[in-house]
């Protein structure tokens, strides 16, 4: 009894403090100080959320920058099933998947003979990677320029304008947010985006 009483009462007391009081205090302060970030960094267009800056989306149209491959199921970029492919480096399925992705990229851009940047043909860890490397964006620039009727220099300038570079040249990775980049393309092209994603028709 000498042991059981404190074992149980301390467990319950700490459950209240660490399980309820602590997360509620953090929620209160975070909501007061950084509500936009605490609520998921949502991107709002015409009053409706069209995604989050932090959560990648699937892009497959030839005139959009494509995101990295995603291993989520049942479909890519399913935010309720985050995760990677877990394919090992010697698994033939990995080589097969990468070959198929390279073929798809080449088919969409037949004239492009450049080697494919590795992040554009490998699945991310979360399956929700919002970014691609600057190399992966540059690789796609020619295709986008043709599909949208823009000058290559314009597309490349757009990438540069939205690039996250290494801080001090050392920290972080050179990358660009795909959702932001495609929205910037839309703003530039003026022709309305077709398809069901377009708000208000």
């Amino acid at each position: 009894m000498k042991t059981i009483r404190p074992a149980l009462t301390l467990l319950l007391t700490m459950t209240v403090i660490t399980g309820f009081v602590y997360p509620l205090i953090v929620t209160g302060i975070a909501q007061a100080l950084f509500p936009r970030r605490a609520n998921g960094s949502l991107v709002v267009e015409h009053g409706r959320p069209i995604g989050s800056r932090l959560i990648g989306q699937a892009f497959v149209a030839p005139d959009d920058f494509w995101s990295r491959p995603s291993a989520t199921t049942p479909r890519p970029y399913d935010a309720l099933d985050s995760g990677g492919s877990n394919l090992g480096p010697t698994n033939p399925a990995l080589v097969a998947a990468v070959s198929a992705r390279i073929a798809a990229l080449r088919a969409a851009d037949p004239g492009n003979r450049a080697p494919v940047p590795v992040d554009l043909v490998t699945a991310s860890a979360s399956g929700l990677d919002p970014d691609i490397s600057l190399a992966a964006a540059e690789y796609q620039a020619g295709r986008i320029a043709r599909a949208r009727g823009l000058a290559l220099a314009t597309v490349r300038a757009l990438i540069a304008a939205h690039a996250d570079r290494r801080w001090l040249g050392l920290f972080g990775e050179p990358r660009v947010n795909v959702l932001e980049l495609n929205r910037a393309l839309d703003a530039l092209s003026a022709t309305p985006r077709r398809g069901p994603g377009r708000p208000d028709g």
């Binding site: 909501q31 069209i50 892009f59 990358r175």
Partner: protein
């Protein structure tokens, strides 16, 4: 190592080292009940807890009472967590209407979180009700870390006290560890993480129409930052989401990633200073930390350079994996663009050297040598900083073995910090050190011998063996990371890994407390010219020797069957 990778490693080490002394000194003060401004704020709450729970904070406890109290507290936690999962459908706050968790999985998860392993055989987004998450899993993040911390403090007291029958009061130690160490640090880190974009809300999921709009995307919401903070600080590692710290809502930027890596290493590193302070010679703590960091740097460099090489089979397809100003390059399968190679490989080294097990990249997709690093890191007994408390007490066991071997070589009774190391201590040390390899190797052997074990592997060949070996190594060391392709949500793995986690946690804890009790009762022998100094380079080498010898001798055969054979296959067959 690329320049950015080296810069990151140096910045990480510098940040941790700067924080070791202030935090280590603070923990020493707190656990010995000394005065401190922060303590004055919490004192009324601390006293109220003692009153409610009927605790006498001054009440002395011998090692047996201390061990029984700690085991009772942990057992009660496991039973509560099991009960919560088995009844969650009938309890409040089951907003997404999840069913009760099935028995084997509930057993596995209860053991997993109580033992600070945080192995997750369940799917983060779609299994546990909000009540189970908050009142069960999140609570154990604090309690299991506090359990590790107080065992380390008890062992330190064994060295520091003379002819004492008490190693402290378990209840007071637990209360102080939570109120004064884990809670304030978590609060600060949670807010810092929320500032970088980690979500913290109590909303239900948000449905959005995406830009191309083929399909709606459902964005999960929840109180992530508060859980993320203690997940790293307590070296727990259980993610809110399935992708763990690779998920952008858990770890959105290179800065949040840096904060999380530092948080994982923080308390384990600081405890070496706490140790030095409490035994009255801070050089003793620095020597232990030096041994830890030498191993750490070596393993981090190996992991980073292996992953930076990239996969030769993809290079053969015409993939560009060279690092440049425009891309991280390397082996990007299972890694995030914002972390690249450097921040992924370093995170993997930190999370497996400690007992954290959070991941920001998928270890299963690492190249063979890159994946060997997290595996070997755990096999060393998680002493490369180690978990909260567990890291310090585990490396002190190796220190005892080290001085014992040295004592045999020079023909003197071995002693450490003025305490004679005799047969009882050596027996307990051996038990504590050897239970982990037994659990890991026997568990792996059983799993590869039965169909239910082999059925779980996701990758063919040697890599499949590595998946099983990794699972039992992770469970036996209470790490919780995985070669996640392994389908571990089966009855076989839930039960086998649950047992491995339980043995790997409490067997050593009881043995360590026994050592603590035995040492505390001893006199302190005076230092003589014949005493082996335990704060210099010689001792560091001795300690490293003990760690690597035990780890390597035990596990090299198993490693040869997994990552090493895969490495030879990968590079031997590519031309």
């Amino acid at each position: 190592m690329t320049t950015p990778a080296s810069a990151l490693l140096i910045a990480f080490l510098a940040t941790v080292l700067v924080l070791v002394k202030p935090l280590g000194g603070y923990i020493a003060a707190v656990m010995e009940g000394a005065d401190h401004p922060l303590l004055r704020i919490g004192r009324p709450l601390e006293r109220a807890i003692y009153r409610v729970c009927g605790i006498d904070p001054q009440g002395p406890m011998g090692w047996k009472s201390y061990a029984i109290a700690l085991l009772a507290f942990n057992a009660a936690g496991a039973v509560l967590l099991y009960a919560l999962q088995r009844t969650q459908a009938r309890l409040p706050l089951d907003l997404q209407h999840f069913a009760n968790v099935r028995p084997a999985m509930a057993f596995n998860t209860a053991v997993s979180f109580v033992t600070n392993t945080n192995w997750q055989s369940y799917d983060g987004e779609t299994t546990m009700s909000d009540l189970t998450q908050m009142a069960g899993l999140a609570v154990q993040n604090f309690l299991s870390a506090a359990t590790g911390l107080v065992v380390a403090i008890a062992l330190i007291r064994g060295f520091a006290r003379r002819e004492s029958s008490s190693i402290g009061n378990c209840w007071a130690d637990l209360t102080r560890a939570i109120l004064y160490v884990l809670l304030p640090l978590s609060l600060a880190l949670a807010l810092a993480l929320a500032a970088t974009g980690v979500i913290q809300n109590l909303h239900s999921d948000v449905t959005v129409r995406t830009l191309e709009g083929a399909q709606a995307q459902v964005l999960p919401m929840g109180p992530v930052a508060s859980q993320e903070a203690i997940k790293e600080l307590g070296t727990n590692g259980g993610g809110f989401f399935n992708a763990n710290s690779a998920h952008p809502y858990e770890n959105p930027t290179p800065l949040s990633n840096f904060l999380e890596m530092v948080a994982i290493a923080l308390i384990p590193a600081a405890l070496t200073y706490t140790f030095g302070r409490l035994v009255g010679d801070t050089r003793q703590g620095w020597a232990v930390l030096a041994a830890m960091l030498i191993l750490f740097v070596g393993l981090a460099v190996l992991a980073t350079s292996s992953e930076q090489h990239g996969n030769p089979r993809l290079a053969a397809l015409g993939v560009d994996a060279a690092p440049s100003a425009l891309q991280p390059g390397g082996n990007m399968e299972g890694k995030e663009s914002r972390f690249g190679i450097a921040a992924s490989a370093l995170f993997a080294t930190v999370t497996t050297g400690t007992s954290c097990g959070a991941v920001n990249s998928m270890h299963d997709s690492y190249l063979p040598l890159g994946g060997l690093v997290p595996l070997f890191n755990m096999m060393l007994g998680e002493v490369v900083l180690g978990g909260v408390g567990t890291g310090l007490y585990s490396i002190l066991l190796f220190a005892i073995v080290g001085v014992f071997i040295a004592g045999l070589m020079i023909g003197r009774t071995p002693e450490y910090l003025g305490k004679k190391i005799e047969s009882f201590e050596m027996k307990m040390c051996s038990i504590a050190i050897l239970v982990m390899p037994v659990v890991v190797l026997v568990g792996t052997a059983v799993a590869v011998s039965v169909g239910a074990g082999r059925a779980g592997t996701a990758n063919p060949g040697a890599h499949g063996f590595s998946e099983i070996l990794y699972a039992f190594t992770s469970a036996g060391n209470n790490n919780g990371s995985a070669f996640a392709g392994l389908a571990a949500d089966t009855r076989f793995y839930d039960l086998a890994l649950g047992i491995a986690m339980w043995l790997g946690r409490y067997w050593p804890i009881v043995a360590v407390l026994a050592v603590a009790g035995s040492l505390a009762a001893k006199k302190r022998v005076p230092v003589t010219p014949g005493t082996l100094p335990t704060h210099g380079p010689t001792f560091v080498v001795l300690l490293l020797g003990a760690i690597v010898l035990v780890g390597a001798l035990t596990f090299v055969p198993a490693l040869a069957l997994g990552p090493i054979v895969e490495h030879l296959t990968l590079w031997g067959t590519v031309r």
